[in-house]
């Protein structure tokens, strides 16, 4: 009976499972979602999951263990289209913030000590495109309902999803907020992909960048702007790297070179 519907699998790697939860939280649209697609695998929502060929795989979470690398490669082999959903899958997430393996190794030891892992081996946390080709990205922490539904509807209708291309500042202005950078706060709005509707700034809190960097973000100018406002260089790096995962590595490498 599901012959004509696209076969979809929703998978969770390392993360908080917030993106899968958000899909389930689309309560008014849930019946339409299950009606429009043949959901083959969705661990959070059902138990009779089938790991067969797929039209679309939605993958949340970063790759953090060797077992996940294998799992991800298997998903890629089975799916025509792979979509990275959420911050962890698109940029690596909070756990992907260590920008060189030495730093990561030290941290692993600090947290786990000398315990030997038997079931799988931990690897440095990375976004899924570090291991496989990704067709589309849907960022968010978690992904936004409106963006997800637009994305999903296009995908099941056979049209390529359109990426929302703007930084948080666009929503922020529409919400008639006074720019927090101008008030001396370390807001990452201009660097961050929008989709949240500038929710933090609407409540007078600076953007922390939880949707990851927006394409075309001017990291250099933002870095010097915060410096110009009197923030400490190490603090700025910490704030900027917090949610940017591995996507900010090259920028910091460049800064290091400039300093030398």
């Amino acid at each position: 009976m599901n012959n004509n519907k696209p076969k979809i699998g929703i998978y969770e790697l390392t993360g908080c499972a917030g993106d899968a939860l958000l899909i389930l939280d689309c309560e008014n649209e849930l019946l339409d979602i299950f009606q429009a697609a043949d959901i083959q695998s969705f661990l959070m929502a059902k138990s009779d999951n089938i790991d067969g060929d797929l039209d679309v795989a939605l993958v949340e979470g970063s790759v953090t263990t060797e077992r996940e690398i294998e799992e991800l490669k298997d998903i890629r082999n089975r799916a025509k289209i792979v979509v990275a959903i959420g911050l962890c899958a698109t940029v690596g997430g909070l756990q992907g913030r260590f920008t060189d393996s030495e730093e990561w190794g030290e941290n692993l030891k600090k947290v786990y000590g000398d315990v030997e892992m038997t079931h799988t081996k931990a690897v440095q946390s990375k976004p899924i495109d570090a291991y496989i080709n990704v067709d589309f990205y849907l960022p968010g922490c978690p992904i936004g309902k409106e963006q997800f539904l637009n994305f999903f509807t296009r995908l099941v209708g056979g049209s390529p999803p359109e990426k929302y291309p703007h930084p948080v500042c666009v929503s922020c202005k529409y919400n008639e907020n006074d720019c927090l950078l101008n008030r001396g706060l370390p807001c990452l709005g201009p660097l961050t992909a929008d989709g949240c509707g500038s929710v933090c700034i609407n409540h007078n809190l600076p953007c922390v960048g939880c949707w990851g960097p927006v394409e075309g973000a001017n990291l250099t100018s933002a870095f010097y702007l915060l410096k110009d406002k009197g923030f400490d260089v190490e603090y700025i790096k910490k704030v900027m790297a917090n949610y940017s995962g591995t996507k900010i590595t090259t920028f910091f490498d460049q800064l290091k070179k400039e300093k030398q």
Binding site: A36, T153, P165, P167, C169, E176, G216, L225
Partner: protein
Amino acid sequence: MKIVKLKKENLFPFLEVISKDADLWAPVKKNSDRHVFKMIDDLTHINLDYTRTILPPRNIILPPEIRMFRATPLEYEPNFSHVAKRILFGVHPCDIHGLLIMDKFYSFMYDDPYYIESRKNTIILGHSCWPDENCLCKSTNTHIVEEGYDLFFTDLKKNYLVWIGSSRGDDLIRMKPDLFEEEIANEDIQSFIRRREEKDKAFQTEINFTAMPDLMELKYNDPLWDELGTACLACGSCSNVCPTCNCYNVEDKPVLGENCSDISRCWDACTLENYSGVAGGENFREKRSERLKLWYTHKLQAYISKYGKPACVGCGRCVVTCPVDINVLTVGKALDGNGIDSFWSRLSKEVTR
């Protein structure tokens, strides 16, 4: 044109009467020093002690996103739910000029029904203002208005002088004529003249806009544009707060579970990265410097060549909004060969040192 007098204590009774059949919008306080236009349900929330709102009134005529129509494979259903009978009270002269420029854009060659319908249903009640250090409207000659309002209130401390700018404005007065006085005392005329002289002297900054088209042409390849591009955060805020920016994007939004699409229209900005992106992945203005050059060419050159005045009404919104100081004041001064202290000029020294 006719001018009548209104005692200040009669303002709220007047607004009360005229807003019975329409939504009243007016400036209210957003935080300690910024204001926004909001729909008013309690007249005491109105705060006229403001210089500029965060967003210009074009955002009330056309909200950031509207659904234009729902399209099925066979037909489409236009949607005008953004249109309402509105009274916009407390609009400053610069913003009235901004709306007049919007009118030109949206009726040039073809009328844009989504704008025109909403605009026709909006009554404009202007209000006098006082410049701060970022007001450039005297330079753009938009500090006074001759058209574009239905009524215009000039604040003379105890009284208002009220200019009637249209027959629609006259109808409003006739809804409660006993609140107004036709006789204007000599004392009021004197205080109006004094106010005008004092306001003219209160401007703290100016730009030579008549020189701008030539300077834009002569400095088309100036390193200034790269300096600006280095600092620009590409956040689009300069465009989003500008009363004369009019670009929009149209998007297809398929409806889940139904064989139809909502066609939505939202404000766009040429300073944003994907604005000049086209099918196939090309982008005609990938560089921030090129996008800024386009923006300033439009405001300071192209529009002047066509209409004889800049597409800048001197409201100062870009001046108070851009976090890296790229605005009509610093760019205008830099084009005019003046040294300025701004984040973008400091940054260019920092990164090229």
